[in-house]
């Protein structure tokens, strides 16, 4: 892991929100990420597209250390993910320290993963109260505002099983926002939704982007990527095949694999 000849320093001056250098990840013998280099600037909406199995979700999960990186370096807001560097040695972070860093990174999952035994309101206040040490009253007030923002103020007392997929996903977004993250990760947020419910979720995400939230979005919604995205990366086989502005990459792909993929999804 420390084989790099020129180990970068821990804190990067004038740093991007996320920076990856030669990130590799394998599950057993399968190398899912084969050296990813990319940079996500602050306030940017960064879209990751590619066929399934291309490693885009895995990369997203590496950013908040749900997956351990095998090689390379990954920084979030100038800090190394999962490790502390002293000299040219890396020290694994304790669970507590990893959890601390995750507070600043919101994540939205394909399968929503709401807590089914809690109401929408309880889902949203759970982390602020348990992790952030906020008082229940204060957390509830903020949660109500967040639920209003995602258009679900009237569903605060409903359990997830009483909500549609689109509503669940919007509650999940509110839950992630409740920790006031500086970065939001979206892992195919609309892939499990009925087509007519996709729009509401994308509207919420569009609103977030307008407010200047840094967002990394793994998606198959090319329309969203073109309209809202500031940068786009096409991944295939664990490598970045093509990167650039969404309109350029989607409108005028340079690489054969990108062309082949886009011809199927557009």
């Amino acid at each position: 892991m420390t084989e790099q000849t020129n180990p970068p320093t821990d804190a990067q001056p004038g740093h991007p929100m996320v920076k990856a250098e030669g990130v590799r990840k394998s599950f057993g013998l399968v190398e899912v990420l084969q050296g990813i280099d990319l940079e996500v600037k602050q306030g940017e909406v960064f879209c990751l597209i590619g066929p399934s199995g291309s490693g885009k979700s895995t990369f997203l999960r590496c950013i908040n250390h749900l997956e351990k990186v095998n090689a390379g370096r990954l920084w979030v807001d100038g800090e190394l993910v999962g490790y502390r560097q002293k000299g040219d040695k890396l020290y694994e972070l304790k669970d507590r320290e990893v959890a601390m860093k995750r507070r600043d990174i919101g994540m939205v999952f394909q399968r929503f993963n709401l807590f089914p035994h809690m109401t929408a309101m309880e889902n949203v206040i759970e982390a602020p109260v348990q992790v952030g040490g906020e008082s229940k009253g204060e957390a509830r007030e903020r949660a109500m505002a967040l639920l209003e923002r995602v258009g679900l103020a009237d569903k605060a007392k409903n359990y997830p099983s009483q909500l549609s997929g689109g509503q669940q996903q919007r509650v999940a977004i509110a839950r992630a926002l409740a920790m006031k993250p500086k970065l939001m990760l979206f892992d195919e947020p609309t892939s499990a939704l009925d087509p007519e419910l996709v729009g509401d979720v994308l509207d919420v995400m569009r609103g977030l982007a307008e407010d200047g939230m840094t967002m990394i979005v793994v998606t198959h919604e090319m329309g969203f990527a073109r309209e809202v995205g500031d940068a786009l990366v096409f991944m295939d086989g664990g490598v970045v095949v093509e990167a650039g502005h969404p309109r350029e990459v989607l409108g005028n792909p340079q690489h054969e694999r990108t062309k082949a993929f886009l011809s199927k999804v557009l």
Binding site: A99, N113, Q130, G151, Q167
Partner: protein
């Protein structure tokens, strides 16, 4: 309400369906057969003089029996409490990434699940024979405090240790199954929110695991209620031993065993009802609407006979409001 028809294919209001329900003649025949068999059995039991029903009635509320009943209840409650608490602790240890914790839990479960509870009971009872005094002090060094084992562990405590520690091993496996039945996404969502392992377990995983843990735990409790009769071998006067003590003097073993069995049956019935309501409580959030309780069902049946139920209005219609654009 209004008879305005728009378009050709719009029919008027449909009347509520009043169809003849499917008949089940087989059920009526079966019920008749079972009724006759039951009548024969009851008749046989009541007419055999050896049952001595008058004695059953006489001893049912005997003070010694009632005292034994109390001990049985205490023993069941306390040992299940020990079992559940210990079981949760052991299950969480067993699933911990810390090899020291998971190894310890594994060995505990291996020993306590692998030996008969009867042997464990006798062992705890005879602990005083093995070690006459128990003490607290520096290992292999001086003692600060010591006490005679038989005073420290009277028969009731020995029974409690025997039953509770054994139960913990079984409960550990039940709890582990429950924890592992919770979707992996729940762990990920809690981790992504920055929750630590302990809070994730306490707030997210265990409450969801409860739905899977509760039914077998009810089963274990019912089983425990009857297993407490084993402590009669270490001469603790619980329900079964109380009955034994009486019939060892008056030789009326059958009536007294019936007395004891009636009490066990009564208590397990109460536990069964309790279990139903606890399961219902933990189904919250996973079912859209809770099923009616038996009381509600009976009430509904009477209401249903008087008038056919009106169609329920579909609530929670999908709210598709796209007012999601943020204004911060």
């Amino acid at each position: 309400m209004n008879s305005l028809h728009k378009g050709p294919a719009t029919p008027g209001q449909h009347e509520v369906i009043k169809a003849v329900p499917v008949r089940h003649p087989g059920r009526w025949v079966g019920a008749a057969v079972i009724l006759v068999l039951a009548a024969m059995l009851v008749h046989a039991i009541l007419t055999v003089p050896a049952f001595k029903w008058d004695l059953v009635g006489q001893y049912l509320f005997d003070d010694r029996i009632l005292h034994g009943l109390l001990v049985t209840l205490e023993l069941t409650a306390l040992s299940m409490l020990m079992g559940v608490a210990g079981g949760i602790l052991l299950a969480v240890m067993r699933l911990s990434p810390n090899p020291l914790l998971s190894g310890t839990a594994w060995v505990y479960i291996w020993v306590f699940r692998g030996t008969p509870v009867l042997v464990q009971l006798v062992f705890w009872n005879f602990l005083g024979v093995l070690w006459a005094r128990l003490s607290i002090g520096i290992p292999f060094g001086p003692e600060f405090w010591s006490q005679e084992t038989n005073i420290l562990i009277p028969t009731f405590v020995a029974a409690l240790l025997g039953l509770g520690l054994n139960e913990a091993a079984y409960m550990a496996e039940i709890v582990r199954g429950g924890i592992q039945s919770v979707d992996e996404g729940q762990h990920e969502a809690s981790q992504a929110l920055g929750m630590n392992r302990f809070d994730t377990m306490r707030r997210i995983i265990l409450p969801q695991a409860m739905r899977v843990i509760i039914p077998p735990t009810g089963n274990e409790t019912i089983s425990m209620l009857k297993t407490t009769s084993l402590v009669s071998v270490i001469a603790l006067e619980e329900l079964f031993r109380a009955g034994q003590n009486i019939y060892s003097r008056n030789f009326q073993s059958i009536p007294l065993l019936i007395v004891v069995s009636l009490w066990y049956l009564f208590l397990t019935s109460i536990l069964t009802i309790g279990q139903y309501y606890i399961e219902r409580h933990y189904a919250r959030g996973s079912n859209r609407a809770l099923p009616p309780t038996p009381v509600q069902r009976v009430r509904g049946l009477f209401r249903g006979i008087r008038s056919k139920s009106a169609p329920r209005s579909a609530d929670a219609a999908v709210h598709g409001g796209g007012e999601g654009g943020g204004t911060a």
